[in-house]
Amino acid sequence: MGVLNKDKSGLKGSFTTMVSESRQTTDTNSNSTALAVKNLSKIYDSVSGKVVALDNINFTVKKGEFVSIVGPSGSGKSTLLNMIGALDRPTSGQVYINGIDIFALSDSKIATMRNGLIGFIFQSFNLINRTTVLKNVKLPGMISGMPVSEANNRAMKILEALGIADKATQKPVNLSGGQQQRVAIARSLVNNPAIVLADEPTGNLDSKTGDDVFDMLKTLSRKFKRTIIMVTHNPELAESTDRSILIKDGKVERDVAN
């Protein structure tokens, strides 16, 4: 499983430059900080009026930390995760990943950041069903322009580590939900991201399979020091993470270590 520890030297160089640049302008970036969210707000304009989905959110996440985000439905958990993952621009505020002020960048650079710094795991897996498991896992590597042989190697090693190497040539639709989510986890790891973001990764799974997938994330955190932020409705799972942030009405209601 050594592959999960290895840094991608190519990307690291350029990130470090950006880190050192942004260090001068912000105090929330020490070497041990993976993520800093500063004064983050998101207001949606919808037909029924303005919706304040996020209201001045502040917190930081240390490298290697496993954080759960909990809260009632509609409280803004997914919105928060999507902002951290740079899927959408906030109305105001900043998100720093590895010290980089993500939203100060152009859309194209943001896409590059998503590809290199962030690993996404979705509730409904979001795999590309017409192509093989291996190609799904390789996809972030392919997008980053990783050499084919390296992408293949990395993808296969991660699939082995997650115990589904034998499914590499199958189509995701032929796999069980738990297996599909493992493929999604593998995909999130292939570019060796700074943070893994998971929005209710066990939400579509039965409790036994959900526990397996959660254990896998836990292993990633413990053994391989991955930084993970997970949205969950399951209080037991939340308690098993390092720290839980409770969101209510778009605000941080509580932020406790477990």
Binding site: N82, R130, G145, R187
Partner: protein, 411 residues
């Protein structure tokens, strides 16, 4: 992304929607093959026409009953073309020679085989006036004053598809001319000829499918009562063709048709190119319809794959990557469709040309094979691929501009 990765993802997407892909490719195939068929057939026709006239001397003028009657129309002339007219034409300025002739069609028999053929009756030594490059097979002799000898055209001597010649030099053929007499009864006139020569292919289908006999024999066999069907007037050089033609039109234009190979060719080629332009339009419309099909297919594809596009963007795909994925899909459809279309079009054009043999006056049904010019095929290919690409641009652009959030939230 590496081009190979883009290609393999696009290819996967097309394979995933087999039926729709096949149907879209089919639309491109139809459009491009239609253009190829129409182009090939009209090029074949044009080439055929050009061949007909290239063999003919450039300094000759045809005078005959009715308009454009160098083939010898059967409609009666309003004046009788006789030796008096021939003699008068010889005295016109810049006229080098005047060759009168009879024409008709008959059945010939040789050793149990039968053919319907054209008959050209004229002074056989004057063939060179009309067809300067005409060659004869070895052993041929031209006998101007022998009413019992005949020169046989290549298509008659060696019928297309036959393994043995119909007739060779020295053999006898029996010609049967059928006509209706004054009392309305069917009559037959029969005459035997010895084949004194066989003409090599001249390119002119009329001569190639004719036997040439002398004037006396023609007059007798075809019951012409010394009324000529046509006169070939040769000017002293091609430079004087227009002058002589004008003189002939001034004198006989009201009663006789006066034409030159050049003017017949100009008329037929104009008609042919008008046809070609029309058929090409039809083909291009078909191609545009195919392009609309591609727009629909790819547009649907974008709608269906919105989540997938969202996912791709979430894991870092650039707008350009998504754009390329969809454009490559369009290009693949275009390239496969255009390539198949050209191959199928070439085959279909050939098959069609067999079933739609062209009737040429005096020569029966003629198979004019299509002609495929490589540079034209390349143009059709490029046009099809370009149209396909153009059709792919809008859906691809739409897809690339989707915000990842919006795309992921869409079910």
């Amino acid at each position: 992304m590496h081009p190979t990765d883009i290609f393999s993802l696009s290819f996967d997407a097309l394979v995933d929607r087999k039926v729709r892909t096949v149907l879209t490719v089919l639309m491109v195939v139809l459009g491009s093959s239609l253009v190829v068929v129409l182009n090939g057939l009209s090029a074949g026709q044009a080439e055929f026409l050009a061949n007909q006239f290239s063999a003919l001397a450039a300094n000759v003028i045809y005078v005959g009953s009715g308009q454009h009657s160098y083939h010898g129309s059967s409609s009666p002339a309003s004046i009788i073309i006789n030796n008096a007219i021939v003699s008068k034409m010889r005295t016109l300025p810049y006229v080098e020679d005047v060759v009168p002739g009879y024409s008709g069609s008959a059945q010939i028999d040789s050793q149990g085989n039968t053919q319907r053929i054209s008959i050209t009756a004229m002074d056989p030594t004057k063939l060179a006036v009309i067809l300067p490059n005409l060659q004869f097979v070895d052993g041929s002799t031209i006998k101007p004053n022998d009413p019992g000898s005949a020169l046989v055209g290549d298509t008659i001597a060696n019928p297309p598809g036959a393994t043995t010649p119909f007739v060779v030099v020295g053999q006898t053929i029996k010609a049967t001319y059928s006509y209706t007499d004054a009392s309305g009864k069917q009559q037959q006139q029969v005459k035997n000829f010895i084949v004194s020569g066989v003409m090599q292919p001249s390119g002119n289908t009329r001569i190639d499918s004719s036997i040439v006999i002398n004037l006396d024999a023609g007059n007798q066999l075809l019951h012409k009562s010394t009324k000529y069907d046509q006169i070939v007037v040769a000017a002293i050089s091609p430079d004087y063709v227009d002058t002589v033609q004008q003189e002939l039109i001034d004198q006989y234009g009201k009663t006789l048709g006066v034409t030159t190979p050049k003017s017949i060719m100009a008329v037929t080629q104009k008609a042919a190119s008008g046809n070609a332009a029309f058929t090409l339009m039809v083909g291009i419309i078909a191609l545009v319809v195919g392009a609309v099909g591609i727009v629909t297919t790819l547009y649907n594809s974008v709608t269906e794959r919105i989540r997938e596009i969202g996912t791709m963007k979430a894991i870092g795909a650039q707008n350009g990557d998504i754009l390329q994925l969809f454009i490559v899909e369009a290009a693949l459809i275009g390239i496969i469709g255009a390539s198949l279309g050209i191959i199928i079009g070439m085959g279909a054009g050939y098959v069609l040309s067999i079933f739609t043999t062209t009737s040429v006056p005096g020569s029966g049904q003629i198979h004019i094979p299509p002609i495929y010019v490589p540079s034209d095929l390349l143009k059709v290919w490029l046009l099809s691929v370009t149209l396909s690409l153009a059709a792919g641009i809008y859906p691809a652009w739409k897809a690339s501009r989707l915000s990842p959030m919006v795309a992921l939230r869409r079910e």
